[in-house]
Amino acid sequence: MERELVVRAQGGDADAFSTLARRAVDRLYAVAFRILRDPDRADDATQQALISAWDHIGALRDPDCFEAWTYRMVVRAALKEARREWRQHRPAHSAELRIDDNGDVLEAVVERDELDHAFRTLSPEHRAVVVLHYYADLPLAQIAEIVGIPVGTVGSRLFNGVRRLRAALDREALVVAERSMM
């Protein structure tokens, strides 16, 4: 069914593409948001990806690869958004926890805060790989194709990205344990 829609869209059928866009928009947005951590910029990246998909759908050789191809479009658009921000305002690596000393700190809140903070210190390319693997549940070979890098590089980026996120969880567990002993 989707293949037929893609073939029709490649032939210039705007209605077919509109159907495809309606089906894909939230899936692409979810990935863009998780890379960018910003709803407005995720909207922009999603819009840019779908417009680019329409403009270049004729270049898609295998209509069955439409889903992976649109991932590529949205990752590219999200990376463009992220790089612009990241290179000019690169977040500093920090081991400090941002905890309100006066209140009870829920473990889950601290955990989310730490993960969010650690995630933002990752480069956009590392974020994309982590999101595509852990959120979109894609295999490394497909991520390599989407991001346009060798599989080995995907593996190293995934390893380094997850290592930083794991370290954040360890710090969070340590602080929560210390506070419970006080």
């Binding site: 490649q10 032939g11 210039g12 059928d13 705007a14 593409f17 509109s18 866009a21 309606r22 928009v25 939230d26 692409l28 947005y29 979810a30 948001f33 998780r34 709803p39 995720a42 909207d43 999603t46 819009q47 779908l50 417009i51 329409w54 403009d55 270049h56 759908i57 004729g58 270049a59 590219r76 990376l79 463009k80 790089r83 612009r84 990241w86 290179r87 000019q88 690169r90 955990e111 989310r112 993960l115 480069s123 956009p124 390319e125 590392h126 982590v130 999101v131 852990y134 959120y135 346009g148 890098i149 060798p150 590089t153 980026r157 997850v162 996120l165 794991r166 969880l169 360890d170 567990a173």
Partner: protein, 424 residues
């Protein structure tokens, strides 16, 4: 906490957050689709209209005969083309390369005239016969040039040329001497120096050290060639990475990820030249997504194309014009990709040739009628000016000897004419 539990928490955390785009996104996409029909739709519409017209009106016998003959000719032409294609198969590239991301291009303010020469008495950079690396900052309408004069210095102050007012200004920023590439995504010029990779914002004069190369980029020696001649750096809009090519040993090619500060070797495949030649000129063809390499020895010239994504080199079988360089291979040549006409141009004193990477052919761009060849101008730094869509060349005087004093001219390949932007 064990690793599997931590990974489960990471995955769970990623599941949190919104999963629905705002309604405006889909509305904007559908509006774009409506306003920009695909070309195939237009062609099909014409075909449908023609078919309907032939059904409505019975064809006259003579018209039918003409139609049959026309179809026969088209068939014969196609058969001939296939036959010729089989005799001369096109170069097969290992993988298709997608289109680059568009960047923002500066617009000149109303009242400015890019063809009006700048004031002669303004301060200007010094560029000796080695030539200086120069790139266009498309978003700012500035050409960024690293000066060369005498012994190459490890650090310099960049010069910025405004292509709307034809005026120079020297930046207060200190950057390493090295090879340049402009990144339209972050709107910064990246400088690959001997011991640092630095990003430079031409609008604010701010610099950020990104990392350091794992090797000496230039190797400054008083008698050596300048760094721009030795290294070629290209920004890849697809990945946000750079390709760094060692011009003195072409098989050495890296991709550099500025965000992770990592360098990856790309294995060279195919027709890799074993050594450099007397003259090595590289330019990235943004239309064909390949590096074009113009190689000139003592007698002959050759053209190579390189797909830096796969490291594949192909020697192009087409004839390559060996440009006459008045002073051998010293300085009086340059190369730049002209995005407006989708050609790579090679300059020498008074001669310009253009390479079409899609057709794999060279063409000599003779001066337009009434336009004298610019034989007394020696280009030492070249860049494509995306604002005014022409090549801008910084250069010195010629007439048989190198006459210092940098002038600037622009070359429009469409009219094949030169415009003086700044007199020497």
């Amino acid at each position: 906490m064990d690793a599997s539990r931590r990974d489960a928490r990471v995955a769970s955390w990623l599941e949190e957050g919104p999963t629905t785009a705002s309604d405006e996104v889909l509305a904007a996409v559908l509006a774009h689709v409506d306003q920009h029909p695909r070309r195939t739709t237009i062609i099909r519409r014409w075909a449908d209209a023609l078919w309907a017209a032939t059904l409505e009106r019975p064809l006259a016998p003579t018209f039918r005969l003409g139609l049959v003959l026309a179809l026969l000719m088209v068939t014969l032409t196609l058969v001939g083309a296939v036959y010729l294609g089989a005799l001369h198969p096109p170069v097969l590239w290992p993988s298709p390369t997608p289109s680059p991301l568009p960047g923002t291009v500066h617009r000149c303010l109303p009242g400015t005239d890019p063809d009006q020469p700048g004031p002669v008495d303004q301060a200007r950079p010094s560029v000796d016969w080695r030539g200086g690396p120069m790139v266009a900052d498309a978003s700012s309408g500035l050409l960024v040039l690293l000066p060369t004069d005498g012994i190459p210095q490890p650090a310099v102050h960049p010069w910025l040329f405004d292509v709307c007012t034809n005026t120079w200004r020297q930046s207060a920023a200190t950057v390493p001497n090295g090879a340049l590439a402009y990144d339209p995504v972050s709107d910064r010029t990246f400088i690959f120096g001997e011991d640092a990779v630095v990003s430079f914002d031409a609008d604010t004069d701010q610099t950020t050290t990104i990392g350091r190369p794992p090797f000496a980029v230039s190797g400054f020696t008083p008698s050596g060639t300048g760094p721009a001649r030795k290294w070629h750096v290209t920004f890849d809009a697809m990945t946000g990475n750079f390709w760094v090519l060692d011009e003195s040993e072409p098989s050495r090619l890296w991709t550099y990820d500025p965000d992770a500060n990592t360098w990856d070797d790309i294995e060279a495949l195919g027709d890799v030249p074993s050594t450099s030649s007397d003259t090595d000129l590289y330019a990235y063809d943004e239309g064909a997504h390949r590096l074009v390499y113009y190689r000139r020895g003592s007698q002959i010239a050759a053209t190579y194309e390189i797909d830096p994504r796969t490291g594949t080199w192909v020697k192009i079988p087409a004839y390559t014009p060996p440009l006459e360089f008045v002073w051998g291979s010293l300085a009086n040549f340059g190369i730049a990709y002209d995005a407006a006409i989708d050609r790579t141009l090679v300059f020498s004193a008074g001669q310009v040739i253009a390479y079409d990477a899609r057709a794999e052919t060279w063409e000599s761009l003779e001066p337009a009628l009434g336009e004298p060849p610019l034989t007394d101008f020696v280009p030492t730094a070249l860049a494509y000016d995306p604002v005014n869509e022409r090549i801008v060349a910084v250069g010195a005087g010629g007439d048989g000897q190198f006459i210092a004093g940098e002038g600037i001219v622009a070359f429009d390949p469409r009219s094949r004419s030169w415009t003086l932007l700044l007199a020497r």
